[in-house]
Symmetry: none
């Protein structure tokens, strides 16, 4: 289907820029056709950055066929070995969540999540949206790598959106958000993003802190590997809720180094 | 992907009823797989009524395969010979329009169109949403059979949404509109405040944690009373942003006690 060009807008090129700073990450995709369909869905909404974490089959003629006119999105796709690599330069990422998890972040709805991502991009952040495997979705480990979760409200009796269909809905909401007025609050009038006073910590910086924290907890005996009591997921959830800044990661790691000398170089 | 059930709602059955009174009409569809994918997209959003106007191939095993768990939507699909037959009992129909036509209605955007359809359904109308052929779209004659047109705003350089993807986006907007209660905003009726999973920490518990943290930082030498570098205000700001739970205060104080033994009794 062809749709008419967006209505004339004061600043369409900057809105296109906004969309180009959102990365779609597909983790462990089983069917190459779904990668192609996802690329097509992305491009129809102006998204261009695609990262694939250990796709089962890629590149593939089937992906190319289903991408239709979005072959360039596939050509420019980045293929990486780990989720941490995929998210490394992102300051904020949302996991498209199958269902609410015990210790996972509370998922926001697609519209709110898209607005939050675009608001962050407007502030100069690099953001990512993570989709899991077609059958198994995202693992708890993958989910906990993200700062938040987003869900598409669906029919409780049949909520099985095709992967590309989920990409289409969220890409659509991202486009609507990018072309809406900046700094929109949600319907309650509350800004969807807490303002930062120092730049947000990158994914790699956040992971460095979590590793450091875990080492200190292990060395002190507080974290018993034989009985971890879900301490790390609970702490990740706490700090993800706050949204760590660079400055804060430095302070927290400074405390860890001070209380457990000799570990600061790890 | 599985999505969590919609949160309990005072009137979920009537919202399901609303969606059941919207008919999706696919006219002259070429590929049976697209009919199956469209059925799946519909069912994920709670739409059940599908009418097919002279489909090229139907029924078809390919349609069944791509419908996945939405075979019942296909089984109940009505196949008719003319668009007039398809729309006969509708009081209002919108054509999903490729592009603005000289004599056709001015298309409204997907969100507005969905809200309009649901508003009419609430008033007791029967409504339909018409999608054209994958390649040629809707003819002028077909378009003029509808009371209005709706369009999905897309990338002007590549606006070619797959038929099922277009059905998915509009079905999604219909569901959001149907579940938007008087308060609107969150289709799930979700508070903008992240719910606590354990009870929130009391003021005294939070202050106990900050004192404990400060003592450990002083004892380790990280916090120099002669040059405090605003460390405590910065840490307070971080944890206040997250909103500490009782359980989290216990974990954090447990870590402090473990890394600085002998201080836990203070």
């Amino acid at each position: 289907m062809n749709t008419p060009p967006m209505p004339a807008h004061s600043d369409a090129s900057s809105q296109t820029d906004l969309l180009s700073r959102v990365t779609i990450v597909l983790s462990r995709t089983s069917h190459p056709g779904n990668i192609g369909s996802a690329a097509r869905a992305m491009k129809t909404m102006g998204l261009t950055r695609l990262t694939l974490v250990t796709p089962k089959i890629f590149p593939s003629p089937e992906a190319v066929a289903l991408a239709s006119g979005a072959g360039d999105v596939l050509d420019n796709a980045r293929v990486v070995a780990t989720l941490d690599e995929a998210l490394a330069d992102a300051t904020y990422s949302l996991a498209v969540s199958a269902r609410a998890r015990d210790l996972g972040p509370t998922p926001r709805l697609a519209r709110t999540g898209a607005l939050e991502l675009i608001t962050r991009v407007r502030r100069g952040e690099r953001v990512a949206l993570l989709f899991g495997n077609e059958t198994s979705g995202l693992s708890n480990e993958e989910l906990q790598r993200c700062q938040g979760a987003v869900t598409i409200a669906a029919n409780p009796d049949y909520s099985s959106l095709n992967l590309a269909a989920a990409v289409q809905v969220l890409a659509y909401e991202l486009r609507v958000a990018a072309f809406s007025a900046p700094e929109m609050a949600d319907a309650a009038g509350k800004s969807v993003v807490t303002p930062f006073s120092s730049p947000p910590a990158s994914h790699a910086e956040q992971e460095g802190f979590y590793q450091h924290l875990e080492q200190v907890m292990l060395a002190s005996g507080f974290l018993d590997p034989a009985r971890p009591r879900r301490l790390m997921p609970k702490l990740r959830r706490l700090f993800a809720r706050a949204g760590l800044e660079k400055d804060e990661v430095n302070i927290l790691r400074g405390i860890l180094a001070a209380v457990a000398p000799g570990r600061e170089d790890r």
